[in-house]
């Protein structure tokens, strides 16, 4: 049997119920658990590190390296928390994975927990994802019934419990330390770092927070090995990832593809290009908190370094296209309104800078803005830049604003006195 080249979506068939435990296992599932139990935990972390797997939540940090900062066990509780609070505007990949193949996530969590020697694993799910909640609750129940969760998993010394936490809104919960506060039942303000969660996270104990898609990569890497994983990528990259397109394209959606695929392949071959009557004006490469890229950037491979050189971030690698009939000032206003609303209010540049920016953008939209407002908007991007804020929310929010001002300055100036046409 040939090994799959689509480890994340091989079991997914839209329209039919997700595989139950037996079906998932029959399709080759849960092999990584037995294999992981034969490893020394540190060797397992090293394996994941060697695979080059980068976090799929947006930051892209090497997952195995992130794991390796966890201290040696001291007999107390240790936690794995899966960040399933997908709320980045334009991002809809974790929803697909959880609704259509929940056992892949659970297998990944068990295997990751073996590496981390975690005693308890939580899924932090956004409350609005009701279909995913249902699918995951069923799958967790089945995994317990099959002895894949609970005491002495598969007859080993390793025990693990798992629970689903459903949240109740707020984008800031996606920030890992804010998520930990929310899981503890507190207001979801981010925490100061250091200490990092690996050392002092949930209830002050060693904790790893990983994105859904990141963890869904673990079963394949452990089952089939690093060389197989490396072979899945193109343009010098390893593995696959889910990329997608929204906006006025012919075929919006998300698909699993080799890491290193170009934006053009995603946009033209998968999404079918623009709808008739619309032109591509610009695109946000990986969520609302990334800088705009222009049509001339389409040939870039979706690799964090290459995208950074072009002045943006790969983020979640789900692109949102801005068409020629949609106002870029209005688009930036919508994004900043979102971020202003979602600021947790902890630090000044974010709490005050975002609503002020939103107010100036609204004035521009209504034809009540001035050139001075545009100058202040530029200044705001500096106040909200990395290093000036407590967490990454405001710097992320500033990205579409600063790049919007860079690429669409003529349109911003036109909005002064005339407003949005």
């Amino acid at each position: 049997m040939t090994v799959t080249n689509k480890p994340l979506t091989k079991n997914i068939e839209i329209g039919r119920a997700p595989f139950n435990f037996a079906q998932y296992q029959a399709a080759g599932g849960y092999q990584s658990v037995a294999k992981a139990l034969t490893f020394k935990p540190r060797d397992l972390m090293k394996l994941v590190q060697d695979s080059g797997l980068g976090g799929r939540g947006g930051a892209g940090f090497n997952t195995g390296l992130k794991w390796s900062f966890i201290p040696e066990p001291d007999g107390g509780p240790r936690y794995l928390v899966v960040n399933a609070d997908e709320m980045e505007p334009g991002t809809f990949k974790d929803r697909l994975l959880m609704e259509h193949d929940p056992h892949l996530l659970i297998e990944g969590m068990i295997t990751a927990s073996i590496a981390l020697q975690a005693t308890m694993a939580y899924i932090f799910l956004r409350g609005e994802y009701k279909e995913a909640e249902h699918a995951l609750l069923q799958a967790i129940k089945q995994a317990y019934a099959a002895g894949m969760l609970g005491k002495n998993i598969q007859g080993s010394e390793f025990s693990l419990d798992m629970a689903l936490h459903t949240s109740a809104g707020r984008y800031i919960c996606g920030e890992e330390t804010a998520l930990i506060n929310a899981l503890e039942g507190k207001r979801a303000n981010p925490r100061f770092k250091p200490p990092f969660p690996q050392v002092s996270g949930l209830w002050g104990r060693p904790t790893l927070v990983n994105n859904v898609e990141t963890i869904c990569n673990i079963p394949g890497i452990v089952t089939h090995g690093v060389e197989w994983f490396k072979g899945l990528g193109i343009n010098g990259q390893f593995g696959t990832r889910i990329s997608g397109v929204s906006g006025r394209v012919k075929n919006p959606g998300c698909w699993e593809m080799p890491v290193g695929t170009t934006f053009r392949t995603l946009f033209e071959d998968y999404a079918g290009g623009m709808q008739d009557g619309y032109q591509l004006k610009a695109f946000l490469p990986g969520g609302g908190s990334t800088d705009f890229l222009m049509p001339e950037h389409l040939d870039l491979p979706m690799i964090p370094g290459d995208v950074a050189k072009a002045g943006s971030r790969l983020g979640t690698s789900l692109i949102m296209v801005l068409d020629d009939k949609t106002c870029p000032v209005g688009c930036v206003h919508n994004l900043i309104k979102f971020f202003a609303h979602e600021s947790c209010g902890w630090c000044t540049p974010c709490r005050d800078g975002l609503p002020w920016s939103e107010h100036m953008l609204l004035k521009l939209e209504n034809g009540e803005g001035s050139l001075k407002d545009i100058e202040i908007l530029k200044e705001m991007c500096g106040y909200m830049a990395p290093g000036n804020t407590f967490c990454a929310l405001a710097p992320g929010a500033a990205e579409p604003l600063q790049s919007g001002l860079k690429y669409f300055m003529d349109e911003f100036v036109e909005h002064v006195n005339h407003g949005c046409k």
Partner: protein, 170 residues
């Protein structure tokens, strides 16, 4: 004066057996009662529609949490309703992909049909309209939720059918 305040202040109500059952189940997932707070508020909301002062105090009493801390949590999370809502809560996504595909027009359509703005409830207590951040259905925009159900690729005609269905179900 202090007597006057005390006599008018809301008091904890009794939690129902169903609420207690569900909260007890959530307690098995966490080592500390504080972590159950948000889940308990959601449970109360599931049965009561919203979280009244009396409900909030009941949860705080039951979990032995300071009521003001629980209130801080309740008001932080936008999906906890601290004011009464209608039977059907409409969560209309107003984030960027839905905005590009016309959610403002849909909002105007719902507002004119039901006579309510964002944050308001119809006089017959059937519908409340609330904007919601990106629902993660950007490839099927515009999207909204009514209660626990998500609706995608919305048009005014589809919304009419959804609202009519809600009204028919009562």
């Amino acid at each position: 004066m202090s007597n006057l305040i005390a006599s008018t202040a809301p008091k904890a109500r009794q939690l129902t057996p169903e609420e207690i059952h569900d909260i007890e189940h959530e307690k098995t997932h966490y080592p500390y009662a504080q972590a159950v707070g948000l889940e308990a508020l959601k449970i109360v909301q599931k049965y009561q529609g919203w979280v009244s002062d009396e409900s909030l105090l009941a949860v705080a009493d039951y979990l032995k949490l300071p009521p003001d801390e629980l209130e801080g949590v309740a008001t932080f999370f936008n999906m906890i309703f601290r004011r009464p809502v209608g039977k059907h809560v409409i969560l209309l996504c107003d984030s960027v992909a839905c905005w590009m595909l016309g959610c403002d027009n849909l909002k105007a359509h719902i507002s004119s049909k039901l006579g309510i703005e964002y944050g308001q409830t119809t006089a017959d207590n059937q519908f409340t309209l609330i904007p919601v951040p990106c629902l993660g259905d950007c490839d099927k925009a515009p999207a909204m939720m009514v209660g626990d159900k998500t609706y995608r690729n919305l048009t005014p005609a589809k919304i009419d059918a959804i609202l009519a269905d809600c009204t028919a179900r009562g």
